[in-house]
Amino acid sequence: MVTTTAELAEDEDGRARFDALIAADQRIEPRDWMPDKYRRTLVRQISQHAHSEIIGMQPEANWITRAPSLKRKAILMAKVQDEAGHGLYLYAAAQTLGISREEMTAQLIEGRARYSSIFNYHTPTWADMGAIGWLVDGAAICNQVPLCRASYGPYGRAMVRICKEESFHQRQGFEILYELSHGTPEQKQMAQDAVDRWYWPSLMMFGPSDDASPNSAQSMAWNIKRFSNDELRQRFVGMCVPQFEALGLECPDKDLRYDEETGTWITGEIDWDEFAAVLDGRGPANAARLRHRREAHDDGAWVREAAAEYARKQHDSERVAV
């Protein structure tokens, strides 16, 4: 591509405005000039986030038809449906950066896109519904509340809507676990087992330690990211400790301790090899998640084609009528 001097001058103006907006902690909007890398970073992050919401429906949708009471069934349906809504808001936010939903869907289905590794674990019992709500949605809240102030306007605004619902998600998860841990011995064991399964993976949701996280520094400079991975993980652990007590469940991290001097929680060793393996596609459910999404997409192809064809015919006949 040939770049003219006029375009270069425009770029320079745009860059100056962009830098000023970031320095003043103001929002960047879709029509504003932005560096290519900023755009690419956001497209990657927002679409991964959208995919996570969509793939994240599966482990819980799995229990809708088996929920043990009508109230729980209703709440779980509402929760999983919220996640579909989150996916939609986020795809819409990414679309403002010039990528289409079809392209993002294709990236996901063809295994070219990432989504949160946490959803590559299975949900063998009802208590997993509690553990996911409490720990996974809880960790998501810690990660996402600061994103409400992300410099890119449509992303920040989508996150405001999403965060409101996430706190309900966490609460219903906590309630599920509370009922179980105060129920029969079998129910309590079910709750402990589920928490044992999800606790460490939820700590991994914050990503590797700051020194091992390559994109963090740039994202912080651009006001996309506000706190480091370790800071957020800290905050999450601090939230969980008293809640473990309220639940009467044991924290699987036997080495967890509070450091009086720094006022921080020191966690035991996180198994980053496991994290890397799941991220690399070798988790227990990676293959199942992609297959489920692809099958839903393929099974629905004839429906989407019908809707598109119908809309086209309607459009044509309207034009004739005018």
Partner: protein, 274 residues
Amino acid sequence: MSEHSGAHGDVSVDELTLAEELLGSGTTATPPVAEYAMRLGDDALILSQQLGGWISRAPELEEDLALGNIALDLIGHARALLRYAGTASDRSEDDLAFWRDEPEFRSCWLVEQPNGHFGDTIARQFLFSAYQVELYQALATSTDPSLGAIAGKAEREVAYHLDHAAQWMLRLAGGTEESRGRITVSLGDLYPYVDELFEDDELTDRLAGVAPRPSSLRAGFDRTVASVLAEADLETPAVKPARGDGRRGGHTASMGYLLAEMQWLARRHPGATW
């Protein structure tokens, strides 16, 4: 679809706690009213259970949301109706949903027909919602205040369900050759279960004033269906009605699987709360 997502897309947990007037609070249903409420409640419960199976599997995200909304509305109706039905025998909504055996369920055969593909689900929904619109409109003026309140709230919601399904009937019938072929077959497969919805029996005869006679709802249903099918350029299927037996506890082969899945966990833990 999209114009409804604003009204229906933001379900919060607070809306899921049943409104006071729907709890049948204080009132105990008489045995015949309880039996009637159970029929309606079971219809809503079984269809909600089926639609819940679509969530995460729909042809597009918007439909995960829409089918989820319909399932949520229906489970809301089911809870209110079963709770009221249970007052006659001191049983909770969960006692009725999870601890009755198949012959005790009073749901019609249409709602227990398998999800099949999206067209099957839409055809089932279209026929059933067209019936429910007539039903709840008439029931809203019931002399039984609890049934009247439940119907009054459900009336608006089932009108949305019907609209959603009718839109898809038009899209599928007027879309591609494949979709037209499929929805034609779906409609023919499900139409035999329509007659059961409009059968009067001893119970509905006894409940004059409390509940509309099912046969009195048929004309409105036929008008709705005929107008949508005319717009979709589809024929009313010329199929023989199945001798549905759901109101007396007889069910088709798919019901056993559906209940096994729905009740399994609750039944493994007798006496537990969740």
